[in-house]
Amino acid sequence: MKPTRQLLSGNEALALAAIDGGTSAAFGYPGTPSTEILENLARHAAPGLYCEWSPNEKVALEAAAGAALAGGRSIVTMKHVGLNVAADPLMTLSYIGVVGGMVICVADDPGQHSSQTEQDTRHYARLAKVPILEPANAQEAYDFLREGFEISEQYRCPVILRTTTCVSHSRCLVARAAPRPQNHVQFVRNPPQFVPLPIWGRKLRVGIEERLDAQAADAARRTTLNTILPAATADCQQPLPTAPLGIVSSGVAALHAREIFPDSPMLKLGWAFPFPDGLIRDFAATVERLLVIEEGEPILEEHIRALGIACDGKNLVPRCGELTPARIAETRARLEGRSANLPAPVPEAADLPGRPPILCAGCPHRALFHALARFDVVVSGDIGCYSLGVFPPLNQTDTILCMGGGFTVAHGMTQAGEPRRVVGIVGDSTFFHSGITGLLNSVYNQSPAKLIVVDNRITAMTGHQDHPGTGTTLMGRSTHAASIEALAAACGRERIRVCNPYDQAALHTILEEELAADGPSLIISRAPCPLHLKRRIAPQRRIDPDLCRNCRACLKCGCPAIESPDKTAKPRINETACMGCSLCQALCKFGAIATRAGQ
């Protein structure tokens, strides 16, 4: 045992690697499973390391590019869908390159634990023609980020480091390496390199292909990243001439696969693109049959086939969802023509009630959706806790597209002639991320869509991160708190209504007036997330069993603090869960719900 090692998650290891690797500046936008990288960086960084939550991933990537162009090392963090937002600067940054090392940490979410799509970020590495590193655990996350800076500075191009949920959120013992000082920061003018006007951009274009060739040869040599592991069961002193089966894998899937195929040698790729063709050919020559086990798309598999090497892959390995030891055990059973015979959930579990994610007790979004449910409207929602308004008993979201899409999809529906009123909803963090341009468009093009910002004063779903409206930065400094109303007014929006959603009567009146009005309007439904405040909104409520008629109206708001295990028992309010929002009290026609005595 080495006492200096620490038990770290992949995200914690990335934060420490950024610190030890001499990062000058770090940027990002929260998104599961990437969020804890910057949170840990802010917690552990020395004063000379700048870090921030940017309003969105495009801003973050551009800022990180600026830091690296000036010579400093930088990282930028985001989830896979964040790279869609940041794709534009990524493509050009590949051309103009960097001076200080820059690593783009992107966390994919196979299995969609908390994401709208399942994407494989390796596609972006190919598209942008930049290297991508894939650590399998926290130790590799630490080592690969440090190595990523070196590769980035050697080739003067950004490097993508792809984790998955299982890498970001798994722990192992991690040894840190010696820290390195920050780079000297001083921008040096070089227009043919840094200004991609066509005259220079065409030369840069050619240079990228030369860079890719050099990197592919390099990737085949870097044994810290790309390794051939002998069969765990083989006698290392006596290498067999050929093995019946060889595995090619990357990321955490390689660890699962190593346990399921201990008797097969493995080519484990930590630097998978540009493809290390020499290494792939050498390995393939030592095995009779090749099986590619990759999480996500068949990117390695298709390339290996293109090299003229026969292999198995997605014909045996699932393409959708997260790979697990069980799913790879099923792959092995399929390969060997037998049944995997893994234990399935027991019959006693078949009728258990599910526990889907729900809006918390006291959530202000519940109050808004409950009020909205009394109107016949189409609701275009967005990404955030309020996505959960789609579920019964609220049933108040009809479509969700992407960050900022709440406003713009609503606008498009109305302009196409949707006969019902269309309401577009975005959260506060989402508004600053990409809602402002949609709002501006709705004013400019005179949209009849009704826009609502559900403003709970924090980026809640990812675990309460600050944003431009909160007045605090990631480094804990006080700053200007951007005003949604002032921004809306500056865009030209004339009807702006602000209300507290717990005041159901006032909210109902505002909704009635604004939905009836012809012109565009913006409603800001504002109440802070009680989970973030860590205190109750008001005194807790209780149901008086003598006054309760068991009409069950209070259950219609879907509050998890109101318990009713079966229909014959009168509902009761859980005293540890109730946050005192009073929404249930407003629903009770018999006056049975009131504050608890003594509060």
Partner: protein
Amino acid sequence: MGNIFLSGVGGQGILLAAKIIADAAANAGFEVAANEIHGMAQRGGSVTAQVRYGPAVLSPLILEGTADVLGALEHIEAIRHAHMLRPGGFAAISRQSLVPVTVSSGGAVYPGDVAERIARLFPNRCYYDCTARAREMGAPRLANTMLTGILSRALADIPLEAWHNAIRGRVPPKTLPGNLAAFDFGRIEANDSIP
């Protein structure tokens, strides 16, 4: 070496229990791989965590049917994940019902025969109301450390001192005496409640 699968409901402290188990195994000189599924930030959803330790550990995920220990802070969550446990494996289950909103809204039914199902599924077990006992000890939130104490009985290669040091490193000084007492109670005194 051991594979420990933990389940519960968001907000109960499953992730802290997983960190304590992982630290204790590391303190005992083992390699460790641990995984946590925390999904979205809201409370009330299912939460699972897995810890594996031994001389060498690769995947952080446990293959179905190979967990040596199943720990559950809510009793139907033990039934939901019963298939993770190997035959003869030990189940540490807190006798607590947390009724999901799918039940209170009328869309599903919370089973009435949980104890019977647990008796049938887990011959090697300790089924004990950790929350009630923790409340008697002054803090219902100590239920997770108490459950950790119960399941520590089945992990004989991690000595007591490794457990205590793990708890010292993970809980604030203010709650340390209570957490150590809850752990020791679980490890030594908690008895299975099914005759």
